[in-house]
Amino acid sequence: MAVTPDDVRHVAQLARLAIPESELGAYVAQLNSILGHMEVLQQVPSAGLAQAAEEARDGMRTRPDQPGAVRLEVTREQNAPQMRDGFFLVPRLATHEDIGEES
């Protein structure tokens, strides 16, 4: 399962990391080296074990439906790169549709 430059490009796109082409080769090599060390896992018979472990876990504790948010001691504006009228502002989505994607 060797990692190709296209794999790294694809994964970098999924992870929103603008990796320069010049650095791609190094990441391909490193990922292949690291993943090479993972191959040993394939030899281990383990089917169903994660499921069994999951079944053994205690259930989560929930919280009552009571207002009580953690208070912000620094305003949103102080940390935000750009805010206006209470909105966070970001550059417009390049593929934005005038209808529809206001969701």
């Binding site: 399962m1 970098a12 929103r16 990391l17 383990s46 970001v90 989505l93």
Partner: protein, 475 residues
């Protein structure tokens, strides 16, 4: 007087402040003075990223078990008043609008946050060399790594800035630097301490983990920060037992020594110190038994699938939209990609790529699911041993003492420095590293592991071993 006080334990400082023999302000002054001394010129250890301002803590602290005790906090805990940056450019200058539960508990116990400490970026590393602000230095040899990722807090404690440090563990990030710097590092049971406000790296592995100059300081800190937190669904509601059990005989206690933690490749000096420690345990009355944890060798591959996978999602929130760095670009998705490529260093980038890859369509079963399955085998190894009448395990903390800064360039080789610590994170059990001797001036750490939520037994062994080996093992 306060400078001398600073060298006493947290308990003694707290007592002095409560009884009016010292003030919190004077202890803080002494801590800041020492902080400056180890950050100057040729002796700069670069442990601290942000120091408290003198006199900032104006409220007179006279109460609480840790009244006036300075604490050095890793840069990935949300703190009031000091920036929280995770050793990363992407969060440079970020002021958290809320405080981590562990930090709040320390402050409520009277502790004073003296500094935010250096770390590998987002806790990804074993040497602090991945900090965006440069590596910290090992106080025993400035050319060597202090270990990581909580290296800054380890150095701060070792250099006497504070008797207690707060770090975090995902694969050994407190025990390994504790071992390298000659201090005590504790990874509590997963769920024992709330993670709320600890910036996430790998959520199923992350633990809030304290340092102490002594076992007692470490136990004290562990006790204060433990307990259920309604803001963390993974925090346990079990009652918190006393951690400060004190030294005493180990009669009736069975200590297991797992063969897999003593491979042929183990540094002979480290092995020798471990054997001396094992002899000391026997002398204290413990029964020592050889045991096997057969899946130990698989821990690093498992860890380096699960941790990056979880990290790839945990670090998605750093997108330049609401806080932190933003690098301008024409469209929002382009802004995300430019911001993240600029803001994250190479190791973080590598792990996000790796984690995204192992979760992506077509690879999930081969990597992520497989890793979770083998993780269950590793957990079962420990469960079996603890069910067989073994109360605690003793192992070396790291295969070698502190390595030279810059000596390890291959990522995977660096990952292997966590080989003896990462198992406890995968299994969720508590672990502790304490100094057991020195090799050519460099500290060697011994590790004690115990069963889930059995920190008292782990501390019982640690107190006894610390006393048996004597203070010369320290610092």
């Amino acid at each position: 007087m306060s400078a001398a006080l600073l060298d006493l334990g947290a308990g003694a400082i707290g007592a002095a402040v409560r009884e009016g023999r010292a003030t919190a302000a004077s202890v803080l002054d002494a801590a800041l003075e020492r902080l400056r001394a180890v950050h100057e010129g040729e002796t700069d250890l670069h442990a601290v990223l942000h120091a408290a301002t003198q006199g900032l803590e104006s409220e007179p602290l006279t109460a609480g078990p840790l009244a006036g005790v300075p604490v050095a906090v890793k840069d990935n805990f949300c703190t009031r008043g000091l920036p929280t940056g995770c050793g990363s450019k992407i969060l440079q200058g970020w002021m958290s609008p809320y405080e981590a539960t562990a930090v709040r508990k320390l402050r409520e116990a009277g502790a004073v946050i003296v500094a935010k400490t250096n770390m590998d970026e987002f806790a990804m590393g074993s040497s602090t060399e991945n900090s965006a602000y440069g590596p910290s230095r090992n106080p025993h040899d400035r050319t060597r790594a202090p270990g990581g990722s909580s290296g800054g807090s380890a150095v701060a404690v070792a250099a006497g800035i504070a008797p207690i440090g707060l770090g975090s563990e995902t694969g050994g990030s407190v025990r390994q630097p504790a071992s390298f710097c000659g201090v005590v590092g504790v990874k509590p049971t997963y769920g024992r301490v709330s993670r709320f406000g600890l910036v996430a790296f790998a959520s199923s592995l992350d633990c809030v983990a304290p340092f102490g100059r002594t076992v007692d300081d470490a136990a004290f800190a562990t006790e204060v920060i433990s307990g259920h937190d309604p803001h963390d669904a993974t925090s346990s509601d079990r009652p918190v037992p006393s951690m400060r059990v004190g030294p005493g005989p180990l009669a009736g206690l069975v200590v297991g020594v797992p063969t897999e933690y003593f491979p042929d490749s183990l540094d002979p000096a480290v092995r020798a110190h471990c054997e001396r420690a094992i002899a000391a345990l026997k002398a204290q009355g413990a029964t020592v038994r050889e045991v096997s944890l057969p899946h130990t060798a698989l821990a690093i591959p498992v860890y380096y699938i699960i941790a990056p996978a979880e990290a790839s999602a945990n670090l998605a929130r750093f997108d330049g939209a609401r806080y932190g760095l933003r690098v301008a670009a024409p469209g929002v998705q382009e802004m995300f990609a430019a911001t993240r490529a600029t803001g994250f260093g190479p190791e973080v980038t590598r792990r996000i790529l790796l984690g995204t890859y192992v979760l992506s369509a077509g690879y999930y079963d081969a990597y992520y699911r497989k890793a979770q399955e083998v993780r269950a085998l590793i957990t079962a190894d420990f469960a079996r041993v603890f069910a067989s009448g073994v109360h605690a395990l003793f192992t070396p903390t790291t295969p070698t003492p502190a390595f030279k800064l810059g000596a390890i360039t291959d990522p995977y080789e660096m990952y292997l420095s966590d080989i003896f610590t990462v198992t406890a994170n995968l299994a969720g059990i508590p672990g502790l590293s304490l100094p057991i001797g020195r090799v050519q001036g460099l500290p060697v750490g011994g590790q004690i592991l115990a069963s889930h939520f059995d920190e008292p037994t782990m501390f019982r062994v640690a107190y006894a071993l610390e006393e048996a080996l004597g203070v010369e093992a320290h610092r």
